[in-house]
Assembly symmetry: D2
Homo-oligomer: 371 residues x 4
């Protein structure tokens, strides 16, 4: 556990993103490749590779691997040396990028396995709020000025719609675009010829990832799509968290987090700290997305920098998105909504009067779309 | 025509993005709204509105509208004043965001109408190169060092796959996610009650945009998705352009642009200027995407800054993506590929020898996927 | 005048950033170069060049220049052709980057000439507010929860300190780092040998820019420093604007813009529209700064894309910073501060009581530092 | 040691950036504050606080602190609880932001203590190359096309100038702008009245940081300036690393890293891996700078998200800049320059002939400026 991860809600997702998780993913990729090679008869019994992979995944010190990796610029090169000492059939036909790209996809796949339920819980909490407050009148505020009336249900339905859309995008990317990478030294599948396509298919099945349509060593749209979907999710989370912080202001007091945070100087305070840290986590996404989009032009058959520039930002992006989702879930679960305060603020301001419009219909339609 | 647009290939797309195009889109949105209101009987004859819209779209000075807009922070407010002088039924029930958001979607829709064929032409050019050079051997280069042999066809197939994917993403966003926005003062459709949903449907049909599932005044995932797809396309373009620039280096001389650019100091030069400017246009996308992702948390019922922060970056992003696509198309059309130079470089370096692997199969599969 | 510039406060600065301003700057650079060459005797009478430059600066259509520029990727190449038709001595020894880089610095220098007084006026307005409200008690709010008491003067002093610092940074960059660029085809000053350094000095004096320590065609720290100072200024502006928007909320009502903006749907509204649009303008800066920082690694003796990627983002960054400064000045000038509302909110909340601390001292020290 | 830090050169700097370093900095800030309070007589003997701080800095598990911190959103709150159990005088008058901001500055100060010598070593290596190759002719390449002749010395002088400038900027920021933060609950120094200013001065002296001109809890220009200087340094590093990678291409072979990296698939390769990973580290900076610039508008007296959003991106930015500097130093130290290859490429291409211009003068002037 790190100092910062729990503060920003990344406690759970971090376990799928730390050094050990990356090492495990690299070893799983090597084991899956050996299994695939065995399926087509390129190597004999893959069990020695599988055993060496399992052992290294569990027992190798990732920091030690990092030290060994510095000379060659990526951790797969020393990992393969260690593997081949034990199982000479390992890494047959592959280049280090094949393993690292596949591992990156595995890491993302597994991190999303943690992240998505937390985001879904936040989305469900919105649906609950919308249902319960379908008819709770509140002041609509535009440019932070009271405008006309709306309902808290309509607001929560809008929150939920953004989260639901983000979920759908991330689920699609996870199922369709997180694929194994296999190409060999220059992306021609030469090392497995004439079994290349069969090895790719078996590799994907064994790794539990999608089978790619081609070789994507320097065709990085899938990384961009993953980054974009994470950035979109952070935007949707940040929207909700911003509104919670605003509605929780002392002078509005329309919502209140169940837990709330304290202060080292002011014992009376009850800060909407889950929403505050969700905002902070979400705010870290756009810059990371930009870095990943900026790395989409790796040179010729392997990027001389752009490729390497993906590993850490993508890890950070998954971590901060997971954290944002988790903190938002915490904020919304048990969020204390105060209809009386909403009514009071509405009555006191210029937004009073007027027609509620289709606020209730919007809630109903949103709930129908989810069911 | 601006000074910079032709340099960066945005000459064509800019006509859908300039001030007049925005004004036209706002007027079109008002006219569509009036038509929709008339359909459900909320107003009588919408022709007066339509005529006033057409007249202002054609004849109002956008700079003058901008000057009038400064006091209120958006151009729809003075536009509505001008419209209502001529057609009092205009803008019934709407808030300025309804019109501006819808106009933004129209602008994007129309700009994509120019951009997509240019991107498709670049993608088709890749397919042509892949087909013609299915078996043209060349040195694979990883980290810009010669590695093992590949083919130019395999490289071009990878280029094309990224462009094809970008096209598919943008087409889906254009068809499904570019929707009208309608909500009224606080997003409850109050001004059209009880006909709100019917007005939305008619508004969408008349505007030629998708009908949204709810009100999205502060649920901005569709803007994020559009931005992300444009950023992904720029990444795919930048990849191809980078490779063209690298292969065109004097010392490699494996490709050469048909036109080529000159120099004010060195008449002998033949710069791959279309690829250079495509790279430069594409490089401007990630920062703009980050700005748009960072604007996804507008406050409560209308953003006090985040909303306004979308208009110019999205325009710039559409422009630079259109420019990148157009310049890449120019670069690839008639790209002169020199198989003899490729063979010479391959023979001179360590990448010679070895097996071509599935390079030809990869080309074939790529071409099959397109057909 | 464009549609958007007045909305985002860039009406004034835009005149130094538009196509004509760039054309003028390029022509001024050519004229200064000719004068410098004449000083050391490399050419005879530079008046023909000066006249041709003045004529083209005033009369050439920038859009036409753009069209001519597309083939070679920058507007200096066709401009030189046009110049030399009239004055064959023009552009002696130079490469197009020399002129474009120098023009970019001139454009920045002149835009800062408009921008800095607006930023200074905003800073002065803060000082006025701090002085007038040195002892106006208000609730301090942390994480948007009432915490303990402070004064509006202390808040305004903090606002002003950030603006003053930004001013100082921008003034230093303007005076010290906006330099002419001169290097020739590969940056060796070969075209002016043995007078190279003397030509650089004379060129700088005539252009009214700093003399650089070396050749900076691919050493772009000065562009980064300019971008960073602009980004920092936008941050400082955004801070003030955010606080104005928050304090102007209906429920707090502690400040109110003198002008205020209206709404197309709600005549009762008085939106803090200058602050809102200042925030929106400021929010566009970080992405542009990132783009410019990302362009700092142009290849070898001239960037094949990174160089070209500076022109539009830097223009946009100067425009949005100028706009943000201008809109903030508008917001603060005549800002209506309501001490009674501040007292009422303070009395109603938990922040009441407690000691004012050094709030007044902080104001006094801030005002002393300025004087 | 982490998996990634050694790969990206952050092995050394990471020790000043990890969880323990942050904990140590927080404890050091608390101890310095207690000492300062004792100086003015606000507390008695500060030794109990100092001892508790030293003990916790060494022995507290940062992960455990993180877990405790989740409820309140920052680690200082639980740290103060632990401190006060042992030394009730701890944290007198302070708010958690005072300690965290000061700790952030300490972390940056110490990380720069590692980073700057590495960057200086890279800059010195450039000077050595420029001196040794003052007259080594090579082809100048613009837009990656051979243009006219230059020297490797002139190129290296340009590299070095960018690094020297970055060093100067970072040294100035470190000395002048890394200041303690002290303000108390709402930034009025109320908790130390009437000794506030004296406590700030003593706090700064004891912490070894600059004394700030005011309270900067929500005036974040110094964070922006630090971020900007780091981003500028990464740009300068990236420029050099890019050129090394380009000159090391198989077909140019003008430089070669002394160590060079291997490949898991191609034993013959000698990749310029230090430059490649320096590029990758540097490429991660612009997005992080944008995030930090985007966090410059914390709300009123403490940011509800923007403040929290600084800690991790600044840590990552210091790490990646340190790594980039370190890897570049590795690349340049012992860089093997091949004048014969340079001459051969020059002779074979269109850049041959022509005048060397002031290339040697540029080297001499650069070396003079350094001495």
């Amino acid at each position: 556990v790190s100092l910062w991860d729990p503060v920003f809600g990344a406690g759970a997702v971090a376990a799928e993103l730390d050094d050990r998780a990356w090492l495990r993913a690299m070893c799983d990729a090597e084991a899956a490749l050996a299994g695939a090679c065995a399926e087509v008869g390129l190597i004999g019994d893959p069990r020695a590779v599988a055993e060496a992979c399992a052992d290294l995944a569990a027992n190798l010190d990732p920091g030690e691997l990092g030290r060994l990796a510095a000379a060659d610029g990526n951790p797969v090169i020393p990992l393969v040396r260690l593997l081949r000492e034990r199982a000479p059939d390992a890494h047959l036909g592959a280049t280090s990028q094949d393993i690292l790209d596949t591992a990156m996809m595995l890491v993302a796949y597994r991190a999303l396995g943690v992240l998505l339920p937390e985001l879904a819980a936040a989305a469900d909490a919105c649906a609950g709020l919308a249902r319960r407050h379908r008819d709770t009148a509140m002041a609509g505020r535009t440019l932070l000025q009271q405008a006309v009336r709306t309902t808290f249900g309509a607001l929560a339905a809008g929150w939920g719609a953004g989260l639901d859309r983000s979920l759908a995008l991330l689920r699609t990317v996870r199922a369709d675009r997180l694929a194994v990478q296999l190409g060999g030294a220059a992306g021609t599948l030469a090392g497995w010829h004439p079994h290349g396509p069969a090895v790719v298919a078996a590799f994907a099945a064994r790794a539990g990832l999608a089978e790619p349509a081609g070789v994507w060593h320097t065709e990085r749209t899938r990384v961009a799509e993953l980054a974009a979907a994470l950035g979109t999710a952070c935007g949707a989370v940040g929207k909700v968290a911003t509104d919670v912080v605003l509605l929780a202001q002392t002078e509005l007091a329309e919502v209140r987090e169940a837990a709330g945070g304290g202060s080292s100087a002011m014992p009376h305070k009850r800060n909407p700290i889950a929403a505050v840290t969700a905002r902070a986590a979400a705010a870290q996404a756009p810059g990371l997305v930009a870095t990943l989009l900026g790395a989409q032009a790796p040179e010729l058959q392997r990027g001389a920098g752009p490729w390497h520039a993906e590993w850490q930002p993508l890890t950070a992006l998954l971590r901060t998105t997971g954290g944002a989702a988790s903190r938002l879930r915490d904020s919304l679960r048990g969020l204390q909504v105060d209809p009386a305060a909403m009514a009071r603020n509405l009555a006191a301001g210029p937004a009073d009067g007027g027609h509620p419009g289709h606020a209730a219909d919007l809630v109903d339609h949103y709930l129908e779309r989810r069911s």
